[in-house]
């Protein structure tokens, strides 16, 4: 039988869930769309990395990933059409990864044996250029 302490904690958490359920029926913000790919193992950096993807535009993020660490990169966009492409280069422009080769996966885990500064590019693959107002977001999670 659960202890009173556990029952109180569970009740408190249930109340919190109810308090937040108001959001679930609404349109998900871009940040929430990305964070659903994060999972419980990863802690995001608390920053929203959002960039416009206009006509043929690419978003570029330059960030340092530390050695002996694992990160999850999750991507999402507000475009109902096309596939969001994530390409990762090092600063010498060596190609490290592209999700186009893996079914346009919206997230991927990266383990770094050594510290590497990377350039993460986002763009949309589609039959037509994305309309103005198209935005893409990169979420970076650190494995805790």
């Amino acid at each position: 039988m659960p202890s009173p302490h556990h029952i109180i904690t569970a009740a408190m958490l249930a109340a919190l869930l109810l308090a937040n359920s108001q959001l679930s029926g609404q349109q998900q913000p871009l940040g929430q769309r990305c964070s659903k790919h994060m999972g419980s193992e990863f802690v995001t950096d608390g920053q929203e990395h959002i960039a416009p993807l206009g006509d043929g535009q690419r978003a570029e993020f330059r960030t340092t990933f530390f050695g002996h660490s694992t990160y999850r990169l999750a991507i999402c966009s507000n475009s109902p059409q096309g596939h969001l492409v994530m390409t990762v280069y090092d600063t010498d422009k060596n190609l490290l990864f592209c999700n186009r080769d893996y079914g346009y996966s919206p997230y991927w885990d990266f383990s770094f044996t050594s510290t590497v500064t990377c350039i993460v590019q986002l763009e949309l693959d589609g039959p037509t250029p994305p309309p103005s107002g198209t935005m893409a977001m990169l979420a970076i999670g650190f494995k805790h």
Binding site: A14, L17, L30, Q47, A51, F66, N78, T113, M135
Partner: protein
Amino acid sequence: MPRAVRTTALLSAFCIILTSCRPSPRKPHVEPDGLDSTSTVMSYGGSLFPIPSAWEVAHLLIRQQLDYAPQLLNPTHNAPRYTTSDKQALNLGVWAADLSYLNTYHKSQQMVEVLLAVRQMCSALGLEQTLQAALPSTMDSSPEPPPQTFASIISQSFGALGHELAQTDRAHVGALIIAGTWVEGMYMLTQLATTTSNRELINRIGELRQPLANLVDMLSPYYYTSSPIADLVDQLLILQQDFEGVIHTYTYKPATVQPAQRHITINSTSRIVISDYLLADIARHVHDIRTNIVE
């Protein structure tokens, strides 16, 4: 106290601290068509520059099996001294880093004290309702939530603060919060590196050259908005000059992909060379910057 009980107790305290704010109608967090062009984008010359999180610093310290060092933290009794929004934002960031550190070392009681200071800063900045609303809707309802839950809650809460600040044309406040977090993490690293001569910590400091450049780029647009921001940027520019002396080499090696696990191992290697003299200079400048923030 068993870790699971400690964990739930802290979670309870955290929720009480957050939900004891004034009741108010919950503002829907809606972006038309999922679009939000006013978020904390740091865009310069078409590039965006994320700043590393304090979790990465805390994780490194615990991996090096370094003892808990409470003297590194900003005492919460300093909170009433921060009467300007610049100071409040910077120290909100400082305490965010302290929370990461305390959580890594499972210091529940100290975390509650820092959370109270965080709430005080949020209240002063008009952000307490945002903090309250930031409780994640996907919180695990297990009676024994994992320790990562705290990290997630804190991370998401600060993310929500940044989002709110950007939407209310106060992105510079969000930038100062991030700056405070970065400086506090750097302060912990430099203090511990100089006292322990731990090679991995010293290397990590050298690796922060690009994030420092990102931070300067992020703050620069606000240089003329207030003298404290100008002073901070000037100090960071001096620190950047120190980093010119750090030798960095990089060798590309093909990565190893495991498609079934959606995982890639980046095998490229980098090497940092940083002299003791330079390390001392960096530590001194970081100490000065941090003192200006917390004093």
